[in-house]
């Protein structure tokens, strides 16, 4: 692009998908619920109330820290109070971890499209509660406390990313990982995954860190990419024009695709952090740690590599099959009971099963069509019991009814017709009924044979063995 390179760090807030909030029993996810319906004395900070920690928040955060290869997951960590005034912060402080967080360090190796990978380090990973939401409406300030106390993990990367695309790749991989671990729905549009981008530029190859800007309010991966792209361009333009970059906070306006200056970043506010006296230290003893980590699955990038190697399928296939954990499980279960080439299973999955999954908006784990059903169907194709076309319709029917494929094939009489005598009879009728086309064929336009195949398939409701039909047609059309 130029003599400059971008230096990017991402600060993410991940909403954990627990049933209840972090410090009370209210429902955690309020998407589409009316304002102030999932609230109680605790999360609205009434006088006298106390927080009680939801253990599944810790469990999910430990899974994430472990998957991010934290240097250390602390056996004892603490919550602290971050004190500040804001109307949607009902206690006047946010309960967050501060200098004694759950985990230290960590990284993710993000594969880049060109085949390299980028190691993105993690400088901060801690648990905290969300604040409420302020809406300005007709000059009035309205507050929705539903979001107060929703569990978050704040995770901050080092300044390791070098382009807008890399930042997007990191977020894609993070989203995949969060869903893979089952700890967050990671839907950016719904605020489950929020991202602020710190961007600065420097001369290619230099190792200085220049003043950075922070871009907030970006709520899709595409927008993160676009916003960073725009900010890099702006900074290069500024520097080339001899101006300096100031530490602004920027707001991304997705409608106009432009950045707006929110405020000049003041000196760091003093939040007067101190340990939260209403909560005990989080004691992660070996037993609990063991219980949590026993649920830690093989991670997506490792599984991608293993699947490609073990089943000798292209990395392209492995990538698609590991997009989502239950799809990878599905593939391996199917391969396990299939005697043929794993690549065949992969093809069926990528082409036909994924079509069903996408059109229904479900995960592979939610299919009625079980891996052994798929294998049964593939086997029938292999054995030429049914045609590929029939197979596709059987897939749909199994998914719809949950009935075993063989039953559907038998009941609906879908077995492939390979009976030469029967097929000859059909072909005789077709030839007899279409003298004009026969003439055309015999006049040398042999491509008409495709039309005849179609007719025969129609007559046999798609069950005819297409190779055999082709063969017989060739013979019978040429003859007299």
């Amino acid at each position: 692009m130029s003599d400059y390179e971008a230096v990017i760090g991402l600060e993410t807030h991940i909403q954990l998908n627990t049933n209840s909030k972090i410090f009370c029993g209210c429902k955690a996810d309020s998407w589409a619920d009316p304002p102030n319906t999932n609230i109680c004395p605790v999360c609205t900070g009434l006088p006298g109330v106390l927080p009680v920690l939801n253990r599944s928040v810790v469990e999910k955060a430990v899974l994430l820290a472990s998957a991010m290869r934290a240097d250390s997951i602390q056996s004892r960590s603490y919550f602290a109070r971050k004190n500040y005034f804001y109307p949607d912060l009902p206690k006047g402080y946010q309960i967050s971890q501060y200098n004694e967080p759950l985990a230290l360090g960590g990284f993710m190796d993000v594969p880049l499209p060109e085949g390299d990978q980028r190691r993105v380090t993690i400088t901060k990973l801690h648990m905290e509660e969300d604040a409420g939401k302020t809406v300005l409406e007709a000059g009035r300030r309205l507050i929705d406390f539903n979001r107060c106390g929703v569990p978050l993990v704040e995770m901050v990367t080092g300044p390791d990313l070098r382009s807008a695309d890399e930042a997007a790749q990191y977020l894609i991989r993070l989203r995949q990982l969060l869903r893979w671990l089952g700890i967050s729905d990671a839907d950016m549009e719904r605020g489950h995954l929020r991202c602020d981008a710190n961007v600065s530029i420097r001369i290619q190859g230099s190792d200085v860190l220049n003043p950075k800007t922070e871009t907030k309010n970006v709520n899709s991966i595409e927008n993160v990419r676009d916003a960073i792209q725009a900010e890099i361009k702006r900074q290069i333009r500024e520097v080339k024009a001899g101006r300096t970059i100031e530490a602004w906070t920027l707001d991304w306006d997705e409608d106009s695709g432009t950045l707006r200056k929110m405020r000049v970043k003041e000196t760091e506010a003093d939040y007067r952090y101190f340990r939260e006296p209403d909560l005990l230290p989080i004691e992660l003893d070996e037993t609990w740690r063991g219980e949590i980590l026993s649920a830690l699955p093989e991670l997506p990038l490792e599984r991608r590599a293993r699947i490609a190697k073990q089943y000798d399928i292209p990395i392209y296939d492995a990538e698609i099959l590991t997009e989502e954990r239950s799809l990878a499980d599905y593939f391996e279960k199917a391969v396990d009971v299939y005697d043929g080439e794993p690549k065949t299973v992969s093809n069926w999955l990528m082409n036909d099963v994924l079509r069903i999954i996408r059109s229904k908006g479900i995960k592979a784990g939610g299919l009625q069509l079980q891996p052994h059903h798929l294998v049964e169907i593939i086997r029938m194709v292999d054995e030429k019991k049914i045609t590929t076309n029939t197979a596709k319709s059987v897939l749909d029917q199994v998914e719809e009814t949950g009935n075993p494929p063989i039953e559907i094939v038998e009941r609906e009489n879908l077995a492939q017709v390979s009976d030469e005598g029967a097929l000859r009879q059909v072909i005789v009728d077709v030839i007899a009924g279409n003298p004009d086309q026969v003439k055309t064929y015999r006049a040398g336009k042999e491509s008409v044979i495709g039309w005849f195949v179609g007719q025969v398939m129609r007559e046999t409701k798609g069950k005819a063995n297409p190779q055999l039909v082709q063969e017989l047609l060739g013979e019978m059309l040429t003859g007299d």
């Binding site: 004395p41 605790v42 609205t44 900070g45 009434l46 006088p47 006298g48 109330v49 106390l50 927080p51 009680v52 920690l53 109070r81 004190n83 005034f85 109307p87 009902p90 206690k91 006047g92 402080y93 300030r141 507050i143 003093d270 007067r272 101190f274 006296p277 209403d278 909560l279 005990l280």
Partner: protein
């Protein structure tokens, strides 16, 4: 002297109610008549001009919950009529310090900023007391947000008067509780103790007060002052009633992560078993006050009042005669750090705990500033808070600011562990002293005159010098009456024991009561009752 039901000990009230001798409604009636007779004019937050009759009355209550109490008393009587168990505190009139949330009652914390706050829920210990059959007569006054030792800082005035002489303070911050119980306006009260706020006013008003082990009683619903020090606890006229209350309020709470899961004994069991073989310690560090001169900062040492010292020594003698072992010269060298450390820790926590009173959600809001957020905050808090919360916020903000936090707050936390170490050494079963408890004075002096110390926030604080170490250490403490001073005001003595030793402290207290049962001072009545 005619007997008034409201003056009976709680356990006697329960016995008569359960036995059908009296009804809960009758007992409530007697109690409310006493309230009407001794209270004086209703305390309010409007500007206060004292008048002479104020100095003859108790002014313990912020809110008297007559209808709620009537309904509760009637339901107790119905249970008895139906042959159901009405609970171990059936019908006992209870005054709740107005720092606890009680469902559907104003829960003010003695502050203008919460004057109009009606709680939608009840604090856990209040719920437990009501489940045990206690009848909430009302919410009693306190220092604003419990910030004080005299009750004079409440936004609700006239201030509470000491029933033994209403020209004197009742102590604080649970002064409304101890005054109400001393004056027969309730048989028991639920108070809170952050630095001595139950024990000091109990001593001043001649009643029994216990600060349980930190975590023994749930803090859920207690409007927080200093979260790591606050302890709800009982106020009663005798040790047996205190034990009855402990039975109701002690125990774990799923709503309080800091509430202890340790098993709860029956505190009434073994109360009268005596003190034979009990190892009771006396510490020279509890017979003197060591504090920095407010002007020069120089450490001053001065003995506690001689009449109080003799009361402690006489009690020790009594215990020795009952077969206890008295161990003298137990060093508690970090006692004098209690107040400075408290100054730092409690203010940091208080400043943060007071953040939520911002005029946004509930309580007082400065009426004309809804447009400008900063002004809304400033004026709401500026006018809603009294001087004590403001002082504590300033101090708390200062010592927790980034540049001072290490030198003050973190240091205070380290000194706090030294204070804890003093107690661990004294109580260590394998150590040199092996104490079951320490016996000390509760306060350095008897109650002071209204207005005498108020305004001198440093000097006021030293009224808590003998009580605050237990809060830092988390250990339990019990104050019981032990006679009267020359001015006719009560003297209190204090027992301090290891974690969860409440039963031992209560047994020691009960033994002292039994040993001194026949003494003349036991028959004395508070002036406000004598005047009726």
């Amino acid at each position: 002297m005619t007997e008034h039901l409201c003056d009976l000990p709680a356990h006697e009230q329960v016995r008569r109610i359960k036995g059908g001798e009296i009804s809960a409604v009758e007992l409530l009636k007697s109690t409310l008549e006493r309230v009407d007779a001794v209270e004086g004019r209703q305390a309010r937050t409007e500007s206060y001009t004292p008048n002479p009759t104020d100095l003859e009355k108790v002014h313990a209550f912020i809110t008297v919950t007559r209808e709620r109490a009537q309904a509760q008393a009637e339901s107790i009587d119905q249970k008895i009529a139906a042959g159901e168990d009405p609970g171990p505190l059936a019908g006992v009139p209870l005054a709740v310090k107005d720092i606890f949330c009680v469902k559907d009652t104003p829960s003010t914390a003695g502050s203008k900023i919460l004057e109009n706050f009606i709680s939608p829920y009840s604090a856990t210990p209040v719920k437990h007391l009501e489940e045990a059959g206690a009848v909430v007569v009302g919410k009693v006054n306190l220092d604003e947000f419990t910030f004080g030792s005299s009750n004079e800082s409440s936004a609700f005035l006239p201030p509470v008067g000491n029933p033994w002489d209403p020209t004197y303070v009742p102590g604080g911050s649970s002064g409304g509780s101890t005054a109400a119980v001393a004056a027969g306006e309730a048989a028991i009260s639920l108070g809170t103790d952050t630095a001595g706020s139950i024990r000091q006013p109990a001593a001043f008003c001649g009643v029994v007060g216990m600060k349980p082990t930190y975590g023994r009683v749930s803090r859920y619903g207690l409007i927080a002052f200093a979260s790591s020090l606050d302890c709800p606890g009982p106020v009663a006229r005798n040790v047996t009633d205190t034990a009855l209350m402990m039975n109701a309020i002690a125990g774990p709470d799923p709503r309080d992560a800091t509430a202890a899961n340790a098993p709860v004994p029956d505190y009434c069991k073994g109360l009268t078993e005596g003190v034979k073989g009990l190892r009771i310690g006396l510490s020279p560090d509890y017979f003197k006050l060591k504090y920095p001169d407010p002007e020069t900062g120089e450490l001053i040492e001065q003995p506690i009042s001689p009449e109080i010292e003799s009361a402690v020594l006489a009690a020790a003698q009594t215990f020795a005669e009952m077969g206890a072992e008295i161990i003298e010269e137990v060093p508690m060298p970090n006692t004098h750090h209690g107040i400075p450390v408290y100054f730092v820790i409690s203010r940091v926590e208080a400043a943060s705990n007071l953040h939520r009173y911002d005029g946004v959600k509930y309580g007082y809001r400065f009426p004309d500033e809804e447009e400008n957020l900063r002004e809304l905050y400033k004026k709401t808090r500026g006018r809603g808070f009294g001087i004590q919360p403001k002082l504590r916020i300033l101090m708390g903000m200062y010592v927790s600011a980034e540049q001072y936090e290490k030198g003050h707050y973190e240091r205070a936390l380290r000194v706090r562990t030294l204070i804890r170490d003093d107690f661990e050494r004294a109580f260590d079963p394998g150590g040199s002293y092996k104490l079951d408890c320490l016996l000390t004075a509760t306060t350095p002096t008897t109650a002071f005159k209204l207005g005498a110390v108020y305004g001198d926030s440093v000097l006021m604080q030293y009224a808590d010098l003998l009580t605050v170490p237990a809060n830092h250490a988390g250990v339990p403490g019990l104050s019981i009456p032990a006679g009267f001073g020359e001015n006719g005001l009560p003297i209190g003595i204090q027992f301090l024991g290891p974690d969860f030793s409440e039963a031992t402290l209560l047994r020691a207290g009960r033994s002292y009561e039994m040993a001194t049962e026949g003494e003349a001072w036991r028959a004395l009545q508070p002036k406000v009752i004598g005047a009726l």
